[in-house]
């Protein structure tokens, strides 16, 4: 069974513990709270995927904290990374 780890109950992304292909089913979580998510595209070990739909402009949550904002709609099981998330800190163009 392919696995991913979620760091906090508030998270909307999980981190892969193995490479996955489109249509793979990944088991996320530990203890009583285990979910299964169908992957929408090929994603490599260590990268993140959406555990539920994330709308454009919505906060991306990991470790129970905001790690960035979605720059486009991201459906469940899709790769979440630099192509669809932007940082909110350290930017030269923000006041």
């Amino acid at each position: 069974m392919k696995k991913a780890i979620v760091m906090d109950a508030k998270d909307n992304v999980a981190t892969l513990l193995t490479d996955v292909d489109k249509d793979d089913v990944v088991q996320v979580g530990t203890g009583e709270k285990v979910t299964e998510i169908r992957i929408q595209e090929k994603i490599q070990f260590g990268h993140k995927f959406a555990m539920k739909r994330i709308d454009k402009g919505e906060n991306v949550m990991k470790y129970g904290e905001v790690i960035g904002q979605a720059t486009q709609d991201i459906s469940e099981g899709k790769h979440v990374h630099v192509h669809n998330v932007e940082s909110l800190r350290g930017r030269g163009d923000l006041p």
Partner: protein, 385 residues
């Protein structure tokens, strides 16, 4: 197991017993190198600073160079200067001799140039090596340990495995009366609100915000965007998307104890416990700062597998990435990928790192020590004239 180290005249403990040549300025490197070639066991601390620097940049460099010489892992230092530089060999020798260790200075221009200076340097090094060869380790506690902590070539396994496991070892050191320094100011951006909750005083909290804001201001003032530099390409390839994600994982390497203070770059702490040191995330500068602040051993938590070493402070390389542990086993000292595989608890892995720390401090060579990889590179915060 029993910890052992070399008792220094000022009561500090060295966990290695080096004789070092320290350049006071880049122009003195050639003399240092020539002497170094005659004595392969002597540690060569050459760099490119020491002159043409202004204000706080000059002060920071001077403090770090003195700190390197003062590091308890060094039993004796030969400081080599030209005689014309801003940060003089005499100044550094004076500062370093406050530790009461063997210090000599060689001033190339005063001594009649390179050819005249070399025999003098040889005589100093000969006598220092003779002295250090007779020194023996004694049993000791962890109170005199300053443990430096760095993370590098971060990927998502860093925040999940190697950083939190390292943090557990850090907690053990503080509980045993020792000191831990972790740093890399860009890598608290996005996680500072968590760190400040553990600040011992209001002043510590304010200082933490202050160094972080200075860092962000520096980036904004340049009109640049921190993205593209931090996270770096290697981080991004490893799954790290934003500086916030990197920082939230990064702060775990310092453990969970109270933050006693915020040190300047290369500043030696004046108390025990956990400290944050201002400085860049870039590896050579970050490691140099830790050695200058007195760290005798450094734990380096890596995702992708940085091969970095140190000339003064042996580095224990820890990874939680199973691919890295395999492909880069010549560089990795502790493999905690068992956490990722669900085979070991974080607590057990952390205890394993702490055990390795005791063994390395007592003399066990690390992979990067054997490879002899390391460099001095001091964080530059001002222009050169």
């Amino acid at each position: 197991m029993e910890l052992s180290g070399y008792l220094r005249p000022d009561g500090s403990i060295g966990f290695r017993n080096y004789v070092a040549i320290l350049s006071s300025v880049g122009c003195a490197n050639d003399v240092a190198l020539r002497l170094g070639r005659m004595y392969p066991d002597v540690v060569l601390l050459t760099h490119r600073q020491g002159c043409g620097q202004l204000g706080s940049d000059k002060d920071q460099t001077a403090r770090t160079l003195a700190g390197l010489g003062k590091n308890p892992n060094i039993a004796g230092v030969l400081v080599v200067g030209m005689g014309c530089e801003s940060i003089t060999a005499e100044y550094l020798a004076d500062e370093i001799s406050k530790t009461k260790k063997m210090v000599e200075s060689l001033i190339v221009l005063d001594d009649g140039g390179l050819m005249a200076a070399l025999p003098k340097g040889v005589r100093f090094l000969d006598s220092m090596l003779h002295e250090t060869s007779q020194m023996k380790r004694v049993p000791c506690g962890l109170e005199q340990l300053i443990l430096g902590i760095k993370c590098g070539l971060t990927d998502t396994t860093s925040g999940i495995a190697s950083n939190p496991a390292t943090g557990i070892a850090a907690d053990r050191v503080v509980e045993s009366g020792g000191t831990v320094i972790f740093g890399e100011t860009p890598e608290i951006i996005g996680a500072e609100h968590i760190l400040v909750k553990r600040a011992a005083t209001q002043e510590v909290e304010e200082r933490l915000y202050s160094v972080m804001n200075e860092c962000e201001e520096r980036v904004k003032a340049s009109g640049m965007d921190i993205r593209g530099a931090n996270p770096a390409p290697g981080n991004i390839a490893g799954g790290i998307t934003t500086i916030e994600e990197k920082s939230l994982g990064a702060i775990k390497k310092g453990g969970g104890k109270t933050l006693q203070g915020v040190l300047g770059y290369g500043e030696i702490p004046k108390a025990k416990g956990l400290f944050f040191m201002d400085g860049p995330g870039r590896t050579p500068e970050a490691l140099t700062g830790l050695s200058g602040a007195g760290a005798q051993v450094i734990i380096f938590s890596t995702g992708g597998g940085s091969p970095a070493g140190s000339l003064i402070s042996p580095i224990i390389k820890v990874t939680g990435n199973p691919n890295t542990a395999q492909s880069l086993k010549d560089h990795i000292d502790v493999d905690v990928s068992s956490i990722i595989k669900g085979e070991e608890t974080l607590e057990k892995a952390g205890q394993g790192i702490f055990q390795e720390l005791l063994e390395v401090a007592s003399g066990k060579a690390t992979k990067s020590e054997i490879l002899g990889y390391g460099m001095i590179s001091i964080w530059n915060i001002g222009p050169h004239m």
